[in-house]
Structures are given as structure tokens and as C-alpha cells.
């Protein structure tokens, strides 16, 4: 009888062309789960301290999740992991589509690459055989085109993950694409793949995935699906900014139940937030120095969520997802279709640059997906460049004649095209805002908004200090997909995990900014839980349904047969978090240096808009969080005692 995981990984040494299968002992899965936990175990132990992220010693891993293929829902997330060239720390990126089960269908929980190939290659696995094949015919091709070419020569049902030209050109904000332009975008791991001369993985397996009790998993899935299918009629898209404005005007916060967000996701996808988030103060505007009044409903109306669903030809479901927040949209111009632009993309290339031109956002979405460049970091870097232009640090001479003013969509398109092709100023900007600021000098560093080099996502930490915390304390800095005050409310973990604090259904906004132990407990719980999800291969959006409606822990127990409850799984999450932090310490990272830019914590505070006068005491928050893990509260480093308590062998 199986336990949900395959019990094997594949390691590929690209320098010598060796491909080796390795059996992973059961106790590793019991300690770390599969997915990102397994990856943390492999990378911590095998990447030598101080390894060059773009050198042969770095290891790039592609991992599936423990629950993928077991009959659970929302288990279609795969992750790419490695030492990030953007932050120098632990790097990972998460993506949906159909690539996650493809890894397990080949018989593996993960595929890990080290070394550097002397020529462009791709890994092909089919019918039980793995081999490196010549990729010179697809090198230089964009991710969508190359995927089609690679699939031409393979049996039906094969899946591909690959880099576009940005990864090949070692852009530090490049990611890895699958399923026609879905992106594992963050941490700059596309550049690691490019440095290894590895264009793609093409997987065509049909292995069965054995579990402890599939009937029990299905029973849990059917119950969960009932919540997902509950979809009452909802307001038209044009009302969404008013919902956001109402939330802004209220002195209190109504704790959110994730069912509401589920309804929005099913109707529109993440784009449901496009206007609402601006109005409530969740979206950073004008490179984080503006506010909602600079990009009010009359300007943002072009990104009304209905605009996107009107162009949607079909909903897109990732593997095992009953919700379907994605979509394939038609468009005019150079490209005929694109994955529905996500909220992050729309805001990074829209409100952050004061860009009202939605057609430009559609174009940039597809162009960046094809290039394999992160839309969040690209948008944030463009906003940084516009501010540099406004301040006279960049001139028309530097931009090859581009009038780089706020909201000039033609100039934004031209600039992104230059970043993709690494031409002129684009070459400097293609490695993200921190690297660009170092090259430009002249005090431009003060216009970058990042954590440890990773551009922040489109969730304003001055509106939800929980974002400030997780942007700053995670071993993968600058990420919005781990925790926040809002996420803790929606995860509703207190309903399953003993000892976690319940959230009051109504509270004053000012209380969000009070730093106390309970907030630290909540933050730590989010991090631990996301590690469990990333070990299981589950989707964060699914988990927003709330712990009583999506049976994460119950699925894991039904899949593995382990005698574990929610508290034991949360301890695994704690172990993974500590191991990833230890990875960073091993590689010389000072965790306190990941603190986000002053602008993002309200130093100085904004003088108007939804977050007027708000400042976040990030130093105190970071200390409190580290204390929850038993890490040193001054340095943020896990000590020997903490490692021993979690049974982690120090490297």
C-alpha cells in the first residue's frame, strides 16, 4: 500500500550527463513531507556553502506535492527550488497547471539538476527512460512557441516546464513556464536554469500513485467540493471599487471568511481585486509613493474585472482544481490569446506605473510570459525606472528617447521589450530594481521597494502589517503567498490546531498596527502552514476556504496512513521553515537584512489616501516572529538547540 509519495527522486548532473535514481527513506517524508520540504532537505544538505547561484554547484529542483494525484482537490501545485541569484538565499517559485502530476507520473517526487551542460539540452522522460536531448532547435524560442515544438515530438499527455529567452539571458527576474505561459516566476530561478543550459523538462509518464486510503480521500474531496460549487449570484464587476471604498471608510474590519473570496475567484479569478484592492488600500500605487486617490475608480475602471471575463474564452483549471480561477483570454494585436492576466500583473504594470491602458497590460502579460520574466518584478522595476526618470537620474538619452513618464503605456511597452531583449537601458533593468539601482547610483536605491532584492508583490504592507512581516522574515523574502493578517483570518487554523488564537469577527483598524505576541503567533502559524501546503502540493487559494472546509490535515493522514494530527503537521511546517532559514545562514545570509524598504512600512508615512499616516513597527514584529521559532531574536538565526529540538542535523 502506498503513502501518496513515490519514494524516489531523479538527480541529473548536467556537466557529465549522469542521470541517477535515488530512493528516499520513509523517515525523510515523515519529517519533511514531499514537495518543498523534501527539496529543503536535499538542497540544505547538498549545495555547498557559498555556492554561486549561477555556477555548477547550485542545484535546481522541480518537485511535486505529497497529495498530488491522490484524489485530493487543489493539489496541482509544483515548485521549483534552488539558491536564488536574485536574493542569494533560499529560492522557490510555485506554479499550477498540469506539470505537478507529470513529475509523479514519471515515478519521482522531484527532479534535481546540478552542474552545467556544455550545450543547450532538455530532459526527456518517457516510458521509464530518462535522457538528455539536444535543445539547440528551441534555444532562443519563446516559452509558448518552444513548448509547442517540444510537444510535437512526444506522445499525447506529455507536459513541459521550460525557460524563455529571459532565463537564457540570465535575467535575475526570470522564471519558469509551463502549460502555455503559466509562470513559476519568483526568486529568479529561470536564470539558474539558463545558467545550466537547461531549456526544458518534457515529462511523459503514466505511473500510478498509490495511497493509503483513496476512498477516504475521495470522501473528503466530495465534501470539500460542495463548498466550492456553492456559487450564489454576485455583484457586477462595476460595483467592486465601491465594495473596496466601503471597506476603506469603515473604522472597523469585518474578519473575512474565505468563502467570499472563493466566490470572487470562481467568478472572475484574482482580477476580482483589481479595483477593490486599490480602493481599500491593499494595492501599492505609483511605486508605493502614491495612494488610491492617484488612481481612483475613474482611472482604474479600465481594469474592471468584467473586462477580463468578457475576453475569457474558457475557464482554466489547474490539475485537480474544482474552482477554476484561471482563464484563457482572446486578444488582438501581435498575440491572439493569453492566460487571463492575474491581479498581480494588472497592478504591477497598471496602478504601480499609473498605467490605465488595459490593452497594454494584455500585451505585456503575454510578452512577459513568453519571455519567461516575472510580471511582478518587471512592473516594479519599470515603476522604479519611471521614478528615476522623474527625478532626473535617468534621462531621454539613457532611455534611447523614451518619454518615461507615469502612465505612458507606449513607453512602458517599449521599455519592457528592451528588458526582454536586454537592449540599452533594458539590459540594466533586466536584473530587477536592486541591481539596476546599484548600477545607476545617484541615490536611486531610495526608489527601490524590495526585500533582500526581491521586488514586493501588490499587497501594501501599510494596509496589512502581516504582509510587512512575511515580506521581511521569510527565508524567501518579499513574498505575498505565505502569510498576512488577512490570510490568518481566512485559513481559520484555530478551528483545527489546538492553542492558536481565534480572530474576532469585528475589530478596529488601529489594532492591526499594535505589535504583540498574538500577532507573532499568527504569523508563525501562517509560515508553518504554508510549508505544509507546499509539501503537500496544495493551492493557497483553496486553503482560503478555511480549515473546516478544506481538509488539508485529514487528506494527508488518509494518503499516508500516518498517525498524525494537525499539531504534528504544523511541527513539520516549523521544521521546514527552520531548515530553510538554516540554509540561508549556511550561505552567509544575515536575516535582518531582508527587512523591507522603508517606503513599504510607512517611513515616512503617506500624507493621503487609505493608508494615510500608517507606519509599521517592522523591527519589533521581526523579533517577535523569530522568538516564536526559537531563533535568536537579534540575528534571526536558528541556534543549535533549536535545530536539535526539531531533529535537524547541522551542516
Amino acid at each position: 500500500m502506498g503513502k501518496g509519495y513515490m519514494g524516489k527522486i531523479l538527480t541529473v548532473d548536467l556537466t557529465v550527463g549522469d542521470i541517477t535514481e535515488e530512493i528516499i527513506p520513509d523517515d525523510v517524508y515523515e519529517k519533511y513531507l514531499s514537495g518543498m520540504g523534501l527539496a529543503a532537505y536535499i538542497l540544505y544538505n547538498r549545495i555547498p556553502a557559498g555556492a554561486d547561484p549561477l555556477g555548477p554547484d547550485n542545484i535546481l529542483g522541480f518537485v511535486s506535492g505529497l497529495l498530488t494525484g491522490t484524489g485530493s482537490l487543489f493539489a496541482g501545485r509544483w515548485m521549483v527550488v534552488g539558491k536564488s541569484p536574485l536574493t542569494g538565499s533560499w529560492g522557490d517559485a510555485n506554479c499550477g497547471g498540469n506539470f505537478s502530476p507529470a513529475i509523479k507520473r514519471c515515478g519521482y517526487d522531484g527532479i534535481f539538476f546540478k552542474g552545467i551542460s556544455s550545450r543547450p539540452v532538455y530532459l526527456y522522460i518517457g516510458k521509464g527512460k530518462a535522457e538528455l536531448r539536444d535543445a539547440s532547435h528551441v534555444w532562443g524560442r519563446d516559452a509558448v512557441e518552444a513548448e509547442k515544438m517540444l510537444l510535437k515530438d512526444t506522445p499525447a499527455g506529455a507536459r513541459v516546464a521550460l525557460i524563455g529567452p529571459s532565463g537564457e539571458k540570465l535575467s535575475l527576474i526570470s522564471g519558469i513556464s509551463n502549460d502555455g505561459g503559466r509562470m513559476a516566476a519568483r526568486s529568479g530561478l529561470g536564470a539558474v536554469m539558463g545558467s545550466k543550459m537547461l531549456k526544458a523538462l518534457v515529462l511523459s509518464g503514466a505511473n500510478r500513485i498509490a495511497v493509503h486510503n483513496r476512498e477516504e480521500i475521495k470522501k473528503l474531496s466530495r465534501k470539500c467540493n460542495k463548498w466550492v460549487q456553492f456559487q450564489p449570484p454576485f455583484l457586477p464587476g462595476s460595483m467592486m471599487p465601491y465594495v473596496g471604498a466601503f471597506m476603506r471608510m469603515m473604522p472597523t474590519v469585518l474578519a473575512q471568511d474565505g468563502m467570499l473570496y472563493k466566490i470572487l475567484l470562481r467568478k472572475w479569478g484574482t482580477g476580482s481585486l483589481n479595483q477593490m484592492s486599490i480602493e481599500m488600500g491593499d494595492s501599492p500605487i505609483k511605486n508605493w509613493k502614491g495612494n488610491n486617490e492617484d488612481f481612483g475608480p475613474k482611472k482604474s475602471v479600465t481594469t474592471n474585472p468584467d473586462v477580463f471575463t468578457d475576453r475569457e474564452m474558457i475557464k482554466y483549471h489547474c490539475y485537480s482544481c474544482p474552482l477554476g480561477c484561471g482563464g484563457i483570454c482572446s486578444m488582438t494585436g501581435k498575440y491572439s490569446e493569453t492566460h487571463k492576466p492575474e491581479y498581480e500583473t494588472v497592478l504591477a504594470l497598471g496602478g504601480l506605473c499609473l498605467n490605465e491602458d488595459v490593452d497594454s497590460i494584455f500585451y505585456l502579460n503575454e510578452a512577459l510570459n513568453r519571455a519567461g520574466m516575472d510580471t511582478i518584478s518587471a512592473g516594479a522595476t519599470v515603476a522604479f525606472a519611471i521614478e528615476c526618470y522623474e527625478e532626473g537620474i535617468l534621462t531621454k538619452k539613457d532611455t534611447d528617447g523614451l518619454e518615461l513618464s507615469w502612465g505612458n503605456s507606449d513607453a512602458i511597452i517599449a521599455l519592457v521589450d528592451k528588458m526582454i531583449s536586454r537592449e540599452g537601458i533594458g539590459d540594466i533593468l533586466a536584473d530587477g530594481s536592486r541591481v539596476a539601482a546599484r548600477k545607476l547610483g545617484k541615490g536611486s536605491e531610495r526608489f527601490t521597494v524590495h526585500a533582500g532584492g526581491q521586488e514586493l508583490a501588490m499587497h501594501d504592507s501599510r494596509n496589512d502589517p502581516g504582509f510587512a512581516l512575511h515580506y521581511s522574515v521569510e527565508p524567501t523574502p518579499g513574498r505575498h503567498t505565505i502569510g498576512a493578517g488577512l490570510y490568518y483570518e481566512m485559513f481559520q487554523l484555530w478551528k483545527k490546531v489546538k492553542g492558536l488564537p481565534k480572530v474576532s469577527p469585528l475589530y478596529f483598524k488601529g489594532s492591526k498596527y499594535v505589535v504583540d505576541e498574538e500577532k507573532a503567533v499568527r504569523g508563525a502559524a501562517c509560515s508553518k502552514f504554508m510549508n505544509v501546503l507546499n509539501g503537500a502540493g496544495l493551492c493557497m487559494f483553496g486553503s482560503f476556504l478555511g480549515a473546516n472546509k478544506i481538509p488539508t490535515f485529514e487528506w494527508l493522514t488518509a494518503a499516508t496512513g500516518w498517525n498524525k494530527g494537525p499539531e504534528e503537521y504544523m511541527e513539520i511546517g516549523e521544521r521546514i521553515q527552520t531548515l530553510r532559514q538554516a540554509f540561508n545562514v549556511k550561505h552567509g545570509i544575515e536575516p535582518k537584512n531582508f527587512k523591507i524598504s522603508d517606503r513599504a512600512v510607512g517611513k515616512p508615512p503617506l500624507s493621503g489616501g487609505a493608508n494615510k499616516g500608517r507606519t509599521v513597527d517592522i523591527d519589533k514584529m521581526m523579533e517577535g516572529y523569530w522568538e516564536q521559532f526559537g531563533w535568536d531574536i537579534v540575528t534571526g538565526k536558528p541556534g543549535a538547540e533549536c535545530m536539535a529540538r526539531l531533529d535537524i542535523e547541522v551542516q
Binding site: N98, P101, G157, A206, R222, I314, K315, S320, P322, G327
Partner: protein
């Protein structure tokens, strides 16, 4: 548990040809062998063997069935959640998603390549909401 080929094999090669994962090897007119590591237990080898030389994982001898009578998946659109688990479960990629229609933006699975379908039933087995069933009776028999 893997399928097995017994001494009754005459090496006709029909099983080797139908196996979707190349798990069967053996020279023409010589006894064939199933690689237990590669076998996915789809049972196609057993359904094509004219000599009743294939046993399933429990040691039960497989019966030869005309390919036109193999079970085929039937999809219940009302139960289906468009999650594509069935498409992924199929070892030969013979399922496809429909286009969206004006009142329903989600795609739904259907049997795209009937000739390639092995009647293995993995799509039905993996569907968590019982939206896929195997029609074994439609053509008068098949794998139970």
C-alpha cells in the same frame, strides 16, 4: 501489483504492442516478460492475449476480449467539476476537454480518441466525485 505472463505465452507480441508504457519485452515467438517496475496494471495485455497467458496482480487469468467490446468512459457533466484529474490519469492521453459554451465557461472531458482508449478505467478510478463511469455493458461485455 504487476501483471505476469505465464508459460502459456507463445511470443505472438500482441501484449508488447498494446502496452502503453513499454513494460513488456521478449523476442518474437519466445516467452515474453512484464517488467514489474514499469507495469501500471492497465490490463490491456491480458485483454489482447489469445493464449490466456496473462495473470493480473492477484493471479487471476485474464480473458481475451475483442477491442471493440472494451469498456469506455462515460462522463456525467452534472457531477463533473472540470478538474482534469481524468485527463491526467489516462495513460494514453485519449481524453480531451470540450470548448466552453455561452452559459457555462468551464470545459468538460470527453473521449477524444476511442481507438486509443485501453478501457483501463483509471479515469473513473481517480475521479473523486464519481463523474466518470466505465460502460462495460454497452458493447456486450468487457473487463469487470
Amino acid at each position: 501489483m504487476s501483471y505476469k505472463i505465464t508459460d502459456a505465452c507463445n511470443g505472438c507480441g500482441a501484449c508488447k504492442k498494446v502496452c502503453p508504457v513499454d513494460a513488456i519485452h521478449g523476442d518474437k515467438k519466445k516467452p515474453h516478460v512484464i517488467d514489474a517496475e514499469l507495469c501500471i496494471e492497465c490490463g490491456a495485455c491480458g485483454r489482447v492475449c489469445p493464449r490466456e497467458a496473462v495473470q493480473d496482480g492477484f493471479g487471476i487469468v485474464c480473458e481475451m476480449i475483442k477491442r471493440s467490446e472494451w469498456g469506455k468512459p462515460v462522463f456525467d457533466r452534472k457531477k463533473c467539476m472540470s478538474c482534469v484529474i481524468c485527463l491526467d490519469a489516462c495513460p494514453v492521453g485519449c481524453l480531451t476537454l470540450s470548448e466552453a459554451v455561452p452559459k457555462d465557461p468551464h470545459g468538460y472531458p470527453s473521449l477524444n480518441n476511442e481507438e486509443a482508449c485501453l478501457g483501463c478505467g483509471f479515469c473513473a478510478y481517480e475521479c473523486p466525485v464519481d463523474a466518470v463511469t466505465m460502460d462495460y455493458d454497452r458493447r456486450g461485455g468487457g473487463r469487470g
